[in-house]
């Protein structure tokens, strides 16, 4: 089986190109069907997200051209898109797919959605009959690899944006955000985003106070929350566990003594202030009150920065996991190549042996049972002795990269080339092997 992959992603193509090539979820099945109907394609999967469109295929002959898909399916001049495409074969396909599924190839490394999208593509491909043993094994392996990367590295753990840093911090304070109240002081894009993030993690009611009450009402309605007049701020804010401030006030609106008051009203249950405003709305002194945690925009950003560093270290650990998985999967592939050759070699020799016995029997006339047994064991012995060495060589080579060329050689010597399904003729093996040695090479653009 030849594995091949072609596609565009956020690194190789601008969004204008990606949106031309993107396939909506509703049409994924149709696209996959189209892919497996291309000449030579036996198995196929189509992955389309906002950051990538990729075609993965298993083919019998190496000459299969997946670029045709783009031409036929989208009715585009492929030549124009050539420069944005990358194409991989064999080992590089394994590596690329493992990296994609593990979210190492994502725009935001470690983001968790991609694995779900790959799984979705897999489900669709299975449903339309695009998955058989070989590609199925590869794709399901990629799920296991992604799981391993997630379990053994912290790639998926780190927060990705200021808003999700805020969520992470809130969870470090409150654990479960279920039922925690969020208070927005001042309305702005950023605080709205943070509130949305918090709510998606379970935080409940949102209370909004804004100097222009109309805006507060509007925002509260949007979140299904409650709007409060700005002059009631100090009496109500302690109802909230998480306070996000983003007013344009020139001075701090929350000072240390406010914090102390809030906490005694709240029976010392902790409060988390996220201060997005510049100049700041919360006096940094308030962070010194027991049970109050104040993070301003710089604090959030520095947490974010340290996460990024950390994530890069983790990503390199993840890469080495991927590399070892690629190695394992390739070995398995080679082993798969060797087994049918061994079987057909044995069958072929056995066929010759039986034919020769039949031929000679006519000349020898009637034989006793012992004589027949003697001939049988004699010929069997010769055949086994001759085959012993080639078979051992094949078996031990199974895990080596040379397996492919060895298999080819054996087939030629013993004239096994007519064997179906395992046709490797005309293949030199050189391009894929070269590319796999060059591990850091991002891809092989076609131009």
């Amino acid at each position: 089986m030849n594995f091949m992959l072609i596609g565009v992603n956020h690194k190789t193509a601008p969004v204008e190109v990606r949106e031309r090539l993107s396939i909506p979820e509703s049409r994924l099945a149709e696209a996959t069907r189209h892919l497996i109907q291309l000449p030579g394609v036996e198995e196929g999967l189509v992955l389309s997200t906002c950051n990538r469109v990729e075609l993965l295929a298993g083919s019998q002959n190496e000459g299969t051209d997946l670029r045709r898909f783009f031409g036929e399916y989208f009715g585009l001049d492929v030549g124009k898109f050539q420069q944005f495409l990358y194409e991989y074969r064999e080992r590089d396909v394994f590596r690329h797919l493992f990296r994609v599924a593990s979210s190492l190839d994502s725009m935001i490394v470690g983001e968790p959605q991609i694995l779900g999208q790959v799984k979705e593509a897999y489900t669709v491909a299975r449903a339309v009959g695009g998955m058989h043993s070989q590609l199925d094994a590869l794709v399901t392996r990629s799920f296991a690899v992604a799981k391993r990367v997630r379990a053994e590295t912290a790639v998926g753990n780190s927060a990705v944006s200021v808003a999700s840093v805020a969520v992470d911090l809130a969870r470090k304070i409150f654990g479960d955000l279920q039922g925690k109240q969020v208070f927005l002081v001042g309305a702005g894009k950023m605080s709205e985003l943070a509130a949305r993030h918090l709510m998606s993690h379970g935080a409940s009611a949102i209370i909004v106070a804004n100097r222009t009450h109309q805006r507060a009402l509007h925002l509260a309605e949007k979140f299904g929350g409650e709007a409060i007049h700005f002059d009631q701020l100090y009496d109500t804010v302690d109802r909230a566990d998480i306070v996000i401030t983003s007013t344009g006030a020139p001075h701090a609106i929350f000072r240390r003594e406010h914090g102390e008051l809030f906490l005694s009203r709240r029976k010392n249950r902790p409060m988390f202030f996220i201060d997005i405003a510049v100049p700041r709305d919360v006096d940094p002194e308030m962070n010194k009150v027991d049970g109050i945690f104040v993070y301003d925009i710089d604090d959030l950003q520095s947490v974010l920065a340290s996460n990024v560093n950390h994530r890069q270290q983790e990503a390199s650990r993840a890469e080495s996991i991927i590399e070892s998985e690629v190695q394992k999967f390739s070995e398995r592939q080679h082993a798969l190549e060797v087994v049918p050759t061994i079987i057909s070699l044995q069958e072929r020799v056995e066929f010759i042996r039986e034919a020769e016995i039949d031929r000679v029997k006519g000349r020898l006339g009637k034989l006793s049972a012992e004589q027949e047994a003697a001939i049988d064991s004699l010929t069997r012995g010769i055949v086994n002795k001759i085959l012993h060495s080639p078979l051992t060589t094949l078996k031990t080579a199974a895990s080596q990269p040379e397996a492919t060329s060895l298999v080819e050689l054996m087939r030629r010597i013993f004239n096994l080339a007519e064997e179906p399904a395992r046709d490797r003729e005309g293949r030199t093996g050189a391009p894929a092997e070269d590319a796999s040695r060059d591990k850091n090479k991002p891809g092989r653009p076609l131009n």
């Binding site: 409150f174 005694s264 027991d290 604090d299 947490v303 340290s306």
Partner: protein
Amino acid sequence: MPHLWLRFAAALYGMGLIYALLALRGRGIALSRLILPAVGTGLVFHFVALIENFQSSGNLMPTAAHQYESLLGFLLMAFFMGFYFRYKTTSPGILIFPLVFLLTLSAAIGAEAAPFSSPRTRNGWVFVHIALIFAGYAALFFSFVASMLYLLQERNLKSKTASGIFSRLPALETIDDMGYQSLLLGFPFMTFGLIAGAIIAQASFGAMFLRDPKILLSLLMWAVYMVLLYTRWSAGWRGRRAAYLSTSAFAAALVAWAANYFSWMHKFITP
């Protein structure tokens, strides 16, 4: 029968103890309507017991330790009632009820040693005593560890360095809850363990057991334990202040443990 009224009072105060334990868990709403009549009746019995005692001895001054305990318990409960009528709150009861119960119980058992019927009964009591006290120690230690973790995590969050080994600590509120739950769990063990201990000591030594240093330290530990629970329950003390308190409760427990070397009762040999 001596101390009959005092024993009735102690039994009614026992309801107060149970109420306190339930209230700390945020339950016992059903009991809250019963509790004031119960301890009020207890107080009346207690008063009768004091009068009776005064009549029999003809002396206004208490003469034995158990009489002091009885008087102190009575006054505490009387104060509680006074505060209740003034401020309409039973909250101090969380702290007062267990204390008064222990004082009254100790007084009601009386000064004279009343030996167990057989050594086997005694061994049973000793086992229950040790098992309960140790469960209390374990819970106390657990909450001590939790309060240390709380401080670490709090410092970590305040210093705004979210990475490092601390990032693997559980959330602040989770740690807090762990500590509080183990305190709540341990307190009944500790209380009933001490009561069992008091019964054993009373049976073996009479009222003089109260003068044993280990007993005094254990009572101190129990008192700190109770204050810890109370501050947490009423004012939500956590973080640094809770850590100080749980450290001191734990230190008292350690000292009480070490006091075996000075105690004439806890030699771990059967007299």
